[in-house]
């Protein structure tokens, strides 16, 4: 590991000043960044520790729930307001990583974690995300964990987070602080597809800091579910995961939210499938139709063709759980 400086600026403003310099990286829980540094994937000159900033709160707002960027994944998953208003988020968080990691990992850090693509982590392998222009090791390699939606010729990696899939489904908004003040962007627009710049995971500028997320109030609490299909029962990334949220009234679906993990470079919202469910009864037949709609445009590689079958099956299964028709 390259030698680096470590600083802990007193205030948020001091942090914003510190990160303007190139070669700096923010460290919170460090559950991903430290691995990346040990593997030589990233080699910052300076780490800016933000763990002491007052960004841990989980508080109701006029029309939603604010969760501070430094709230721990474990704390959020057990928070009474989260469990009451957005149980889907709690389920998604508990599906992620291991209890030990969740005790360190923060909400902002979870959003910033990088793909777990093996070719990205291995500095002897080609990877356009790690080193633009070197090629994609996964395209013709072992791509069992890789994308079926939204990939490019440059990169077929997936975003590894469970929490982000839940937040994407719940229409969360990201609150970002920069030199010019705060800006808010929809969570679904925070991460980006690889296109020709897979080295850029998201739309956070280098001199910006995530300060929190806000989830608008909704009617999904009664009928939501997070399904994660993985190779072992804990501490494994999703082969496919589905966040499903339904607003059911009078036996019909008024609103639906669906997002998938393990299938794309970002949490993958299934807008067309959602639309297809509105006004319909929550039945297995309708869920299967929605799942098929969701699969339009999917493309598999040598080792991940099973996702073309597993993904729709999981969408349908998650919807059944959300609707309570299992």
């Amino acid at each position: 590991m390259k030698q680096f400086q470590y600083i802990r600026p007193a205030t948020q403003q001091n942090v914003l000043d510190a990160i303007t310099k190139s070669g700096t990286k923010i460290i919170a829980g460090g559950t991903n960044l430290v691995d990346l540094m040990k593997r030589g994937v990233t080699a910052p000159d300076k780490l800016v520790d933000i763990n002491h900033l007052p960004l841990k709160g989980i508080t109701p707002t006029k029309s939603g729930l604010h969760i501070g960027a430094l709230a721990l994944n474990s704390v959020v998953s057990e928070n009474a307001l989260v469990l009451q208003k957005h149980p889907l988020l709690s389920l998604a968080l508990k599906a992620g990583a291991s209890p030990q990691l969740r005790n360190m990992a923060t909400v902002g850090g979870n959003m910033m974690q990088r793909t777990r693509c093996t070719y990205f982590y291995d500095t002897t392998m080609p990877c356009n995300k790690r080193e633009p222009g070197t090629g994609c090791g996964a395209m013709e390699g072992y791509n069992r964990m890789h994308a079926i939606f939204g990939a490019s010729q440059q990169c077929i990696a997936v975003h590894p987070s469970d929490m982000c899939v839940g937040l994407a489904a719940l229409d969360a908004v990201v609150i970002i602080a920069g030199k010019k003040g705060e800006r808010r962007i929809p969570f679904v627009d925070f991460h980006r597809l690889p296109e020709d710049h897979p080295e850029t995971d998201n739309h956070l500028a280098k001199d910006e800091l995530i300060v929190g997320v806000e989830i608008p109030d909704n009617n999904f609490a009664k009928n939501s579910y997070y399904l994660k299909v993985r190779d072992r029962q804990s501490y494994a990334f999703a082969l496919v995961s589905v966040a499903a949220a339904l607003d059911i009234s009078g036996g019909l679906i008024k609103q639906a939210r669906l997002a998938m993990g393990g299938v794309a470079h970002k949490p993958w919202r299934l807008y067309d499938a959602e639309k297809s469910l509105v006004g319909k009864a929550p039945t297995e037949e309708n869920f299967k139709v929605a799942a098929q709609i969701a699969m339009q445009g999917a493309k598999a590689y040598e080792y991940n063709a099973f996702k073309l079958k597993l993904a729709p099956a999981s969408i349908s299964e998650a919807l059944k759980h959300a609707a309570g028709v299992v």
Binding site: R144, V229, D231, R232
Partner: protein, 702 residues
């Protein structure tokens, strides 16, 4: 502490409080740190090593490679079976990805680690072959005609009224012990002392003697405690040779610890295998013939073979059995012993095939096994020393509730999950080797027993204390068992489930002799009062050393094995293919169980790895590079707590009259044998889907 289940681990408190010292935790004045640089090609030659930047890096003392390493006297010797055969830093040849090519030594671990990234190695690369399935046509007979076996008529199954033919695939398994391999090497002139992970202390001492052509008194090996080894801890691996050479060159105490990624390439693994089984029976379920053909892999520089087809020759009463075993040479490091070596792989295929044939016969698979029970060894044509496999069947079935199993697959659904029951049996030789032990009872009341065995986890010292206390009637708190040093009386390596039988027999004999000696001193008494005798005869202590032969009396007349039958309840989600193991009962014939509490742990450990083997574990290579793509514990999936249900262990607990004076049969290896088949069979019973390609991941069930 003794409770109703036996003696708890004598070193348990030291382990859980962190007070015990592992190989990487020894400190010496002037200790320096080595980090191994590994090759980034799988086959070819090193054309150059640029170590200038590394040498200039802060704290770096030396960068050692074949370019500057001294001539190693023993490299002209023909290596023995345990020697991994790579002559570290001898020449420029690369045999596998991740081969040690240089050692960076610095004044701190971190500085050595960083400098290792600065060493630039250039290569002339050749095309590697690392896929077993793509290279099956290049296989050969590893042991000449001994690679094949025939009893009765070959391929007789083909003429049976009911028959099955199937091909089974098992992947690479990596031992992945929690404790990374480490060697701390301290030279004093031409004397060397090492602290390392060694299952076989005396053979490691011999390997080091051979490497440097040193007399035995110049080589001291300590391996006081082992954080898991599972078969990987016996050879003097290439990284350890690097440590020995490095310490010699700089003439300072040197510690080398390899990292998790290096644990995949530098310390062996379980060979993958492709197995074909044909099995046929009469319409009423009597076996007619079994054909079992297996191919595994080895490296280009060393042959490692294992008895994949061995159990097939004797587990069932079958008149016609033919087997063959082949190896394919690949550009990978050599595989090594891995828990239940050979049997674990072979019995997966055998016990799945038995289940497949029972299904084809529409018979309960346990009934089918009972119908084909071998009441003597059909391979050796000898009686069993003892065999209570039938009691494993019945005890296990009773504890599990086997009678609730539905013969028709996919016929039980609970809460949206398909439910299936499966069974798989296994056997493992109950062997024994020569062993010596020393026992010394002192006036302070302490009985010290010593032998150069090791403890890779089963609780060797604990069971030896138990054996000793049964003979010498003094409180277990006053008995010490010392192991883990090559200076102690010679013991065999801790492998092959022989330790309790071998070392235990030596302890038994030594303590018996010690007791006799006390009786003689006292002038004949059945129950000597040891401390009184020492006092009356003004003796500070009485000591005996005893060598016990590895050949039990009449052992040649019998065939001796330990047996297990695993019962598994698997739940499979029909839409997502996820498998949850809900219940395990493992019934074990391990002869007399000497210490139930630690014996139970051994079985649980085997089952936990069995869960990994059946559902999650697979070493994956990218054959374009000959390199692992999952060489870490995040991507190589060992079972987590969430994957492991309650495991019930049932012991038959009946004395074997032949194996050793305690009547025990070793159970460390057999614990995992047959388990993966029980899972695959349960998954079939749940779903009607037969997965013959481990691990059984969700994608194979949708």
């Amino acid at each position: 502490m003794t409770n109703k289940n036996g003696l708890t681990r004598v070193d348990g408190r030291l382990k859980v409080t962190g007070a015990i010292k592992y190989a990487a935790e020894y400190k010496f004045p002037g200790l320096v740190y080595g980090v191994v640089v590994s090759s980034t090609i799988a086959k070819g030659e090193i054309t150059g090593i640029d170590s200038k930047a590394a040498e200039k890096s802060p704290g770096v003392i030396a960068v050692i490679s074949h370019l500057n390493a001294p001539k190693i006297p023993g490299y002209d010797r023909k290596p023995n079976d345990f020697d991994p055969n790579i002559k570290t830093f001898n020449d420029s040849k690369i045999y596998f990805y991740g081969q040690p090519v240089a050692l960076v030594i610095a004044d701190s671990f971190e500085r050595a680690k960083h400098a290792a990234t600065l060493v630039k190695v250039s290569y002339q690369k050749q095309q590697q072959q690392t896929s077993l399935t793509a290279n099956l046509q290049n296989s050969y007979k590893p042991w000449g005609d001994g690679s094949d076996y025939l009893r009765g008529e070959a391929n007789a199954y083909r003429n049976a009224s009911v028959k099955i033919e199937a091909e089974y695939h098992t992947p690479i398994h990596v031992h992945n012990a929690m404790e990374p391999f480490a060697m701390t090497a301290v030279w004093d002139g031409d004397k060397i002392t090492v602290y390392t992970k060694a299952q076989a202390i005396k053979s490691m001492q011999q390997d080091i003697m051979n490497m440097f052509k040193l007399p035995i008194e110049n080589v001291q090996v300590y391996s006081k405690v082992i954080g898991g080894a599972f078969g990987s801890g016996s050879p003097l691996w290439p990284y350890a040779k690097a440590a020995l050479i490095g310490a010699k060159v700089i003439n300072k105490p040197l510690k080398v610890v390899i990292d998790r990624e290096q644990m995949f390439t530098m310390v062996g693994y379980r060979s993958p295998a492709v197995q074909k089984i044909g099995m046929g029976a009469s319409a009423d379920g009597k076996l007619v013939g079994i054909t079992h053909e297996a191919t595994g892999e080895t490296s280009t520089y060393q042959q490692f073979g294992e008895g994949i087809t061995d159990t097939t020759k004797f587990l069932y009463d079958c008149p016609n059995v033919n087997t063959q075993y082949r190896l394919t040479r690949l550009d990978l490091s050599t595989p090594t012993y891995t828990r239940g070596p050979g049997e674990t792989t072979g019995v997966f295929a055998l016990e799945c095939a038995v289940d497949e044939l029972a299904h084809a016969l529409n018979m309960d698979p346990l009934e089918f096994r009972k119908k084909n029970y071998a009441d003597h060894d059909p391979e050796e044509n000898k009686p069993w020393s003892s065999k209570y496999l039938d009691e494993c069947y019945s005890l296990g079935a009773e504890h599990f509730g086997w009678d609730r199993r539905k013969q028709k697959p996919a016929s039980v659904i609970e809460n949206g999950w398909l439910v299936g029951y499966g069974v798989g049996s296994g056997a493992y030789g109950a062997g024994r080797a020569n062993c010596s032990a020393r026992a010394k009872l002192s006036a302070d009341g302490i009985l010290l027993i010593q032998s150069s065995t090791s403890d890779m986890g089963p609780g060797t010292a604990t069971v030896m204390v138990k054996i000793a206390s049964d003979i010498i009637d003094i409180p277990v708190e006053n008995i010490r068992f010392e192991l883990g040093s090559s200076a102690l009386p010679a013991a065999p390596g801790e492998y092959g489930s022989i330790t309790t039988s071998s070392v235990g027999s030596a302890v038994f004999d030594t303590c018996t002799e010690l007791k006799e000696k006390f009786k003689q001193i006292a002038g004949g008494t059945d129950n000597p009062d040891y401390l009184k005798i020492l006092k009356e005869h003004n003796l500070p202590f009485v000591e005996v050393t005893h060598h016990t032969s590895g050949r039990a009396p009449d052992a040649d007349k019998y065939s001796a094995h330990a047996y297990v039958t695993h019962f598994v309840e698997a739940h499979v989600h029909p839409a997502t293919g996820m498998v949850k193991i809900k219940k395990v009962v493992s019934a074990v014939d391990g002869g007399k169980i000497l210490n139930p509490i630690t014996a139970r742990s051994q079985i649980i450990g085997g089952v936990v790895w069995g869960i990994g083997m059946s559902l999650t574990e697979e070493g994956v290579l990218d054959h374009r590079y000959g390199k692992y793509v999952n060489a870490n514990l995040g991507d190589y999936h060992v079972a987590t707590h969430a994957d492991v249900p309650q495991i019930e262990v049932v012991f038959v607990d009946k004395k074997d009259p032949v194996t050793n004076p305690m009547g025990s049969k070793g159970i460390g290896e057999v614990a995992i044998v047959g388990f993966a088949a029980a899972v695959a069979n349960a998954v079939f019973n749940a779903t009607g889907i037969r997965v013959r390609d481990l691990p059984i991941t969700p994608d194979k069930l949708i």
